[in-house]
């Protein structure tokens, strides 16, 4: 039963992942990416990580993709759909991709050391609880946790600074337009 679920989820994830790359309209690829991320969250549950599945849905689908959709809605999507679709010289990229795929799958299928690390696979019933996870996170990984929170703060401030309009130039141009209005 688990294998059927895995095959269903991974099939849908692969197809929607392909749609992300193939779709012309950015909104279509954003929605396909949402579908793909939900499938991946379900795969996390199969991997015995229900907490991460919930985090995935909250953070990716709830926050990141909504941010993407806001930015897409700020742009002119119709103009974008009519422009050229692929890059001009696509052949070097295709060759690099084929090499990457061949290398990855050759490594996965033939490497004996990797197979020794992988082991036989574990049943899903042996799940570590969220309590174990939080104990490990707040005991052994407390310093990385704090560093991650500082990084999030820096990103917050950086995004605000990057996205706001420059007050001085905006004020100067507003003054000029007011002066022109008076003249």
């Amino acid at each position: 039963m688990e294998r059927e679920f895995f095959l269903l989820l991974s099939g849908v994830a692969t197809i929607s992942g392909l749609l992300v790359v193939v779709a012309r309209n950015p909104i279509h690829s954003a929605l396909a990416l949402v579908a793909c991320l939900v499938q991946i969250a379900a795969i996390y549950i199969l991997l015995g990580a229900p907490f991460l599945a919930v985090i995935q849905i909250f953070v990716y689908v709830g926050a990141v993709m909504v941010l993407f959709l806001f930015v897409i809605m700020m742009l002119d999507v119709r103009k974008e759909a009519q422009t050229r679709y692929l890059r001009g010289a696509a052949w070097p990229g295709v060759i690099v991709l084929l090499l990457l795929a061949a290398e990855l799958f050759a490594l996965l299928i033939q490497s004996t050391r990797l197979h020794a690390v992988m082991g036989p696979g574990q049943p899903i019933s042996q799940q570590p609880s969220v309590e174990d996870l939080s104990l490990l996170l707040f005991q052994d990984f407390l310093l990385p946790f704090e560093v991650a929170s500082v990084i999030l703060l820096v990103a917050l401030v950086g995004a605000v600074v990057l996205a706001r309009t420059d007050d001085k130039t905006a004020g100067v141009s507003a003054d000029r337009s007011q002066q022109r209005g008076r003249q």
Binding site: A13, I40, L47, P123
Partner: protein, 100 residues
Amino acid sequence: MIPTLWYLILAATLFVIGAAGVLLRRNVLIVLMSLELMLNSVTINLLAFGHAQQDLRGQIIAIFVIAITAAEVAVALGILVALLRNKHTLEVDELTILKG
């Protein structure tokens, strides 16, 4: 019981698809979304090995990956909005400001 190799093959497939989006598409937004897809495939790898070894550290690293990804997306979309305001284009081939 699902073999770990299946998870790794799924992750490799998604990684190659995301790399195709990064290398072949011209729209900056699609490139960023493909980057998200690649990060997710790497997270599947981390969780698959953590599950196979019954080790919780895979999940811990995955939590950090998700947190850093959220920060990266916020900064990237801020840069994108500023870029649109100044250059009025979304195509990666035309963003050559850093070229000397």
